[in-house]
Amino acid sequence: MTYGVPYSFVPGTKARADEVNANFIEVLNKIEETNTRIDEANTQNNANKEEIEQVEQNLKTELAKKAGLDLANLNTAGKAVLNNKANAADIDGKWIYKTFTLLGSVAGPVSGKYVTVSLASYLPSGSSVYDVILRADIEAKAKGSYGLYAFGSDLMNNWFTFGRVENGRAYYAGNTVRVPVNSTKKVYIKSNNSTVGSNMLYVAAIGYRKVR
């Protein structure tokens, strides 16, 4: 933008009052014009600010709605993100249902001993932790036999009790439990039974999934 005044004065000549006044009026007009432009710009800025605030509000509302959505509504890109996270063990994997006989008609352990089984050929290779569903049945064979049975793994210090039998009272017991298994992929069974070969075990893995 170029600014200028109507009259220019040369050194050594007289300045006429009406020409000087005309120059001042021109300057005042330019100032007024500039002020008007500033006011208009401020008005536009306020309008933009309101628009930005409205967009932010809409975004917050949409995010709140998304938080309550079922994951099934995710689009392909969203699913890909979740799958990548699952592969990186960030979230739990899908359940894989596959039956695998661990022990069939095997004499249960006596107190102080363990029956140890490897799930290496059942679970995928790698060092992930898996949640394994184990189904177990116990049969009390010998008279007077008694036994409380439990599963264990290298991942935990506790035991998961799955049944108690007593010949003459409870000949059979069955249960299904979930046991977390680590990279050793070993499952242990123990009991407080004192008679060798008195109780028979039937144990199968029926499913697993990778967990964090």
Partner: protein, 125 residues
């Protein structure tokens, strides 16, 4: 999927698809046919010469198993009848007015038959 028959202390001790890591247990890999047959008829196979082989004494052992199972059933039936006889002695009631047979007579007759069967089976062992 591999199939195993487990051997412990020189004797077969069950089967499975997983390897047992129990101390003293051998995992002997067998064919699917042997594995399935073993599940149905455990007496059909034995452990000999570090292998799972057909049991040459299978028929006799199967008969023996049948007898032992029946003897066990008879024992349990006799125990139940003994409890019934105690009640029959205490209550002393007639079961059939026409024949005059008491409940005690009725249970005694059943016990007699079972004991005859028991002795007969026991002699075959």
């Amino acid at each position: 999927m591999k199939k195993y028959i487990f051997v412990q202390d020189g004797k077969i001790n069950g089967y499975g698809e997983a390897i047992q890591l129990t101390e003293g247990v051998q995992n002997i890999e067998v064919s699917e046919d042997v594995y399935n047959e073993f599940i149905q008829e455990p007496l059909k196979y034995i452990y000999a010469d570090r292998k799972i082989v057909e049991n040459p004494n299978y028929e006799n052992e199967k008969q023996r198993e049948f007898i032992e199972k029946r003897l066990d059933e008879i024992t349990q039936e006799l125990e139940i009848l003994d409890a019934k006889r105690i009640r029959a002695v205490c209550e002393d009631e007639v079961k059939s007015e026409r024949s005059g047979e008491t409940w005690l007579d009725y249970y005694n007759a059943q016990i007699y038959d079972l004991r005859v069967e028991y002795k007969s089976l026991e002699a075959q062992l």
